[in-house]
């Protein structure tokens, strides 16, 4: 019984304490997320049986979690809020918020538990449907409840992509990479250089993001190559070095001069009188510490109304019409030759959409009806004031990444990665080319950080070398380790937990502590110096890395396989127990080995 109730208490207390930090409507949102987490965790604990029985056995846990949440939340709105001198929440919000929170906690957890009665595949599909609903509605709920979490969640999602990419290198291929942020930087700087007015190159984001991914992949190959003969600790140290070199390089690419060596040095050495060919002189590529800013942003139809027509419009329209004509011809040929597979059709639709994205804006006419119709399909820029658009963009990138990574994992290449991770020599004997396999792991891993980097640069609108230092690499590695090395779901959870803790909870905790101290302890301290010291040091953001380290240390001691482990890695970490289990029944057979 205790085993079933304990998660209810844990979740209830964590959820309730979180409402202390945010107040207002937060209890409703937190309740729903708590229910989701609890339901996903609980479902696996039960046998598959009919839904009513499942609900019955999970009911006490769900109720306990819900009750604790509401009690703590009510305590928050009645006592704590007053104690920290916050404006009290309107009674209506308190009542409604707590009701929704309670129903969400109980409802979602019971729903997910009840789904466990279905066969495994169906259960999986339903779970995905529920999660999809939550993911889609979240930004709107967030907007309505005025919590303003979306813009911070987007940072967490960037780290989810980075974690997914690093997971290929560390989790699948078993190559400990301590400099992964280098590829993040390469993706971001590629985007910065190619789409910033600073250099007068302003390419379309939808093109640049692929170039950024490709650049990261190429550098993955280049930086991966020297590490090939290395294993374990030595590999980690070399990647650490690369992780340090790349941001320093970007910091210092402020005075680039490239001369053609033959005409400038070699021929003059032999007394020839040539004019030196200079490709570029004193070119400031990255603007050093100042960073590149502003950076162009993605644009899509339906996002916002764009500006009226410019001068280049006619050319654009001509290109667009030509492109459409070529595409139409190809489509007609494919269609009439009977090549009507869904993939081919989807390809044409995608190409048509791409043409529109690249070449519209459309000029304004003086006809209001035409203008309003054209206004809808006219691409508008993503704005920082509207995080919802960014949120869906990054969700799209994550879905694409998950799709690709799952296919990779289950492919021949994925198997080869895992064999290399297990035993490189044995893998070679199986016919696996270690060089190719490892290089592809570096390249594929880097590709996803290229996506993340491009998104990050466009989202922040500026990039600075200090963002990509060693600590970024370590945080990404923490995401992977905390979530569960080698497990896609684990890495997603790890990224969300770690980065929301960093981006949402710590700042909220800081405000909470400051307000709390101001009303309770600070007035009772007479010495102003001590008062100031207490006030300054009660800032959890200062202890960010301490808390990171502490979390990791605790995780390694309590649950080294991560929050949602990869079963192979769990098997290894708990190998002794498993072996004991297997050996025990047949120990009499007198085998050695």
């Amino acid at each position: 019984m205790m085993k079933i109730i304990r998660p209810g208490i844990t979740f209830g207390i964590i959820g309730g304490l979180l409402t202390f930090l945010f107040g207002g409507w937060s209890v409703a949102v937190i309740g729903c997320f708590m229910g989701l987490g609890l339901g996903l965790g609980l479902a696996g604990q039960f046998e598959r049986k009919n839904p009513l029985e499942l609900v019955k056995s999970a009911l006490p846990t769900a109720l306990i979690a819900g009750v604790i949440l509401v009690l703590l939340s009510l305590y928050q709105s009645s006592v704590v809020q007053e104690a920290i001198g916050k404006r009290p929440t309107a009674e209506e919000i308190v009542a409604k918020g707590n009701l929704i929170g309670f129903l969400g906690a109980v409802g979602f957890s019971l729903l997910l538990v009840a789904l466990h009665s279905l066969p495994e595949k169906q259960e999986q599909q339903w779970k995905i449907a529920v999660l999809a609903l939550v993911v889609i509605t979240f930004p709107f709920v967030d907007q309505a409840s005025e919590l303003r979490w979306t813009s911070q969640i987007i940072f967490a999602l960037i780290f989810v992509i980075l974690g997914l990419g690093l997971n290929i290198v560390v989790g699948y291929a078993g190559l400990l990479d301590l400099g992964y942020a280098a590829f993040f930087a390469i993706g971001a700087y590629t985007t910065g250089i190619l789409s910033s007015p600073v250099h007068n190159i302003q390419w379309n984001f939808w093109l640049v993001i692929w170039i950024a991914a490709a650049m990261a992949a190429i550098w993955g190959l280049i930086l991966g190559a020297p590490t090939l003969p290395l294993r374990g600790d030595y590999l980690a140290i070399v990647t650490l070095g690369f992780g340090e070199i790349v941001p320093v390089l970007f910091k210092n690419l402020i005075d680039v001069t490239i001369k053609e060596p033959l005409t400038c040095w070699i021929l003059p050495m032999f007394g020839a009188n040539t004019t030196c060919i200079v490709f570029t002189e004193h070119f400031d590529a990255t603007l050093g510490e100042k960073g590149i800013s502003p950076i162009g942003r993605p644009a899509l139809p339906l996002i916002a109304h764009g500006e009226p027509a410019g001068a280049a419009m006619t050319i654009k329209i001509v290109i667009m019409l030509v492109a459409i004509a070529i595409l139409g011809y190809l489509f007609w040929r494919a269609w009439s030759s009977g090549n009507r597979k869904p993939g081919v059709m989807a390809g044409f639709a995608g190409a048509l959409a791409a043409i529109f994205i690249f070449f519209l804006p459309i000029p304004r006419t003086n006809n209001t009806i035409i203008d309003s119709v054209l206004g809808i399909i006219q691409p508008g820029e993503f704005e920082s004031s509207r995080p919802v658009t960014w949120y869906f963009l990054i969700i799209g990138i994550i879905l694409l990444s998950i799709f690709i990574i799952r296919r990779l994992r289950d492919s021949r290449l994925g198997r080869a990665w895992m064999a290399i991770r297990e035993d490189e020599l044995a893998a070679a004997q199986m016919g696996i080319d270690p060089v190719k396999t490892k290089l592809l792991a570096f390249a594929m891993g880097a590709t996803f950080s290229g996506f993340a980097g491009a998104f990050y640069a466009a989202y922040i609108r500026g990039i600075f070398p200090s963002v990509f230092d060693f600590s970024a690499s370590i945080i990404i590695l923490c995401v992977v380790i905390l979530g569960g090395i080698g497990n896609i779901n684990g890495v997603i959870v790890g990224g969300l937990v770690l980065m929301t803790a960093d981006r949402l909870f710590l700042p909220a905790l800081k405000d909470f502590l400051a307000a709390f101290l101001k009303t309770t302890i600070l007035p009772s301290i007479s010495d102003p110096a001590v008062q100031l010291a207490v006030k300054d040091n009660a800032n959890p953001i200062l202890y960010r890395f301490l808390l990171f380290g502490l979390t990791l240390a605790i995780m390694m001691a309590v649950r080294p396989e991560g929050l949602i482990p990869n079963e192979q890695i769990r098997a290894e970490l708990h190998e002794k127990e498993a072996v004991a289990e297997v050996e025990a029944p047949k120990s009499k057979k007198g085998k050695k080995g």
Binding site: A427, Q429, M430, I569, E575, G593
Partner: protein, 235 residues
């Protein structure tokens, strides 16, 4: 089928194989016997391409192997059940066997071969979803052999399949080696257990400190006084 000509292999400055020449014909079991450090495993590692010989040639069906990396040798039809087994500890038995078939592009007969492996090693079928690392020593040896067989190799290299196993299991393993050979697999067997090896092999080579000192039919080697004295413990 497989021919080694005057192969010299070094570990750094140590001259491990001093001009080894041997042949394995189609359908044979050929065994290499010798004491520790005689160069038996080194010979197999040289064939497989894990170490490059400094001189000499290794030819399989007319293709020179000595310059190729290990994974290419594997794709040409050389599979090894290595010393110390080297199974993938965190993969299940089935996944290990699937890795064995990695070199094969045509997987249409994969299921049949899997079934066949399980008839030879019924023990593995019972353990099919268990992690390789949790198997007992004998089971790991069976897995290593079955995994090598899944590649459908032209020649199967077996390195000390009896090492560390109880006598009853050793007999079982040798029965299986015989059976594999009767089904048409060519086998190069490295063994310290000379009596067992010579009793199933067609021909044998005796290695001493990196040199072939005797080469003959297996039954003749069994009667050779030197072999009897040194490797079979007969006074």
């Amino acid at each position: 089928m497989l021919e080694l000509k005057d192969v010299n292999t070094y570990y750094g400055n140590i001259h491990a194989l001093k001009g080894i020449s041997l042949t394995v014909n189609d359908g044979e079991i050929v065994t290499l016997i010798g004491s520790n450090g005689a160069g038996k495993s080194t010979t197999l590692r040289t064939i497989q391409g894990l170490i490059k010989p400094r001189s000499g040639s290794v030819v399989l069906d007319g293709v020179e192997l000595q310059k190729l990396p290990a994974h290419e040798v594997a794709t040409l039809g050389v599979a090894q059940s290595p010393e110390g087994r080297m199974i993938f500890p965190r993969m299940t038995v089935l996944e290990n066997l699937e890795m064995g078939a990695y070199v094969r592009r045509d997987l249409s007969s994969f299921q049949n071969d899997l079934e066949h492996a399980f008839t030879l090693f019924p023990r593995l079928k019972e353990r099919i979803s268990q992690k390789g690392g949790t198997l007992s020593g004998g089971e790991q040896q069976m897995l290593a052999m079955a995994r090598a067989m899944m590649a459908k190799p032209k020649i199967l290299l077996l390195d000390e399949p009896s090492m560390g196993l109880a006598p009853i299991l050793v007999e079982l393993i040798f029965d299986i080696i015989k059976k594999l050979n009767q089904e048409g697999t060519t086998i190069l067997l490295v063994e310290q257990n000379a009596l067992m090896a010579l009793s199933i092999a067609h021909r044998g080579y005796v290695l001493q400190t990196g040199e072939v000192v005797l080469a003959d039919k297996a039954e003749k080697l069994l009667k050779d006084p030197m072999v009897q004295k040194t490797y079979l413990g007969v006074e």
